[in-house]
């Protein structure tokens, strides 16, 4: 069972690596071009890792300490991805405003920089959660 658990958690690490920097054919982050596409790729990748974490939390054979650590890390990392979602929503609104002539280029540059900052933080959050799953 421990072997199975280790194999499954390592799959999540593998997925994380692929999502962030791995194989070209299945690497969402290398395919995404715009900040919006990158944010979407990260959020979806994070959900894949979350689903794996849920499998472990629901597995009666997984030690309580491992489950506790996963929950603890998830409480830290999910709010970061929530912030990424909000930053993307702000970016979408700002782009629409610019297109309709009510926004400014300066404003969207500030919001895009904020979005890029949350993208970087979300990348670290995914790795942190995958690392917790590997314990």
């Amino acid at each position: 069972m421990k072997m199975l658990q280790h194999s499954r958690s390592s799959v999540l690490l593998f997925i994380t690596m692929l999502a962030l920097a791995g194989c070209q054919s299945i690497n969402p982050m290398s395919i995404a071009e715009t900040p919006g596409q990158k944010a979407y790729a990260l959020e979806r990748s994070y959900n894949i890792v979350l689903a794996g974490a849920l499998d472990l939390v629901n597995d009666p054979a997984v030690p309580a300490g491992v489950k506790s650590n996963i929950r603890s890390v998830e409480r830290r990392t999910t709010p970061i991805v929530d912030n990424l979602s909000q930053a993307f929503a702000d970016y979408t609104v700002a782009r629409a405003a610019l297109s309709s002539g009510t926004g400014s280029q300066e404003r969207i540059e500030v919001i895009a920089a904020n979005l890029e900052g949350w993208i970087k933080q979300a990348e670290r959050a995914i790795v942190e959660l995958a690392n917790a799953v590997d314990r």
């Binding site: 280790h6 194999s7 390592s10 799959v11 999540l12 690490l13 593998f14 997925i15 994380t16 690596m17 692929l18 999502a19 962030l20 920097a21 791995g22 194989c23 054919s25 299945i26 690497n27 969402p28 395919i31 995404a32 071009e33 715009t34 919006g36 596409q37 944010a39 979407y40 790729a41 959020e43 979806r44 990748s45 994070y46 959900n47 894949i48 979350l50 689903a51 794996g52 974490a53 849920l54 939390v57 309580a64 489950k67 506790s68 996963i70 929950r71 603890s72 998830e74 409480r75 999910t78 991805v81 929530d82 979602s85 993307f88 929503a89 979408t92 790795v127 995958a130 690392n131 590997d134």
Partner: protein
Amino acid sequence: MPTAIITLLNVLGSLLTARGQEDLGEYARLAASLVREGDDAHDELKLLSLELQDMVDQNRDPTTEEALAVTTRRKELSAAIQAGAGDGDDPA
């Protein structure tokens, strides 16, 4: 796992370590030693990559509905993970 993928992950690990991302490099090497293709998560990642390529080809960003669906799914998963907290778990 095919030898080519093991090699790729080990090379990736070396590259990441060289770029100063030691933790990521270590993960790549660990994954290379154990992971298998054909896993559900692997298939989901493939699907996501195809969707993203489609977005790039169409030169568009995710729609509000697509973004909302991902957020909703995240909240469901997060709530489910925390649902069993309390059995010897540290409070938030």
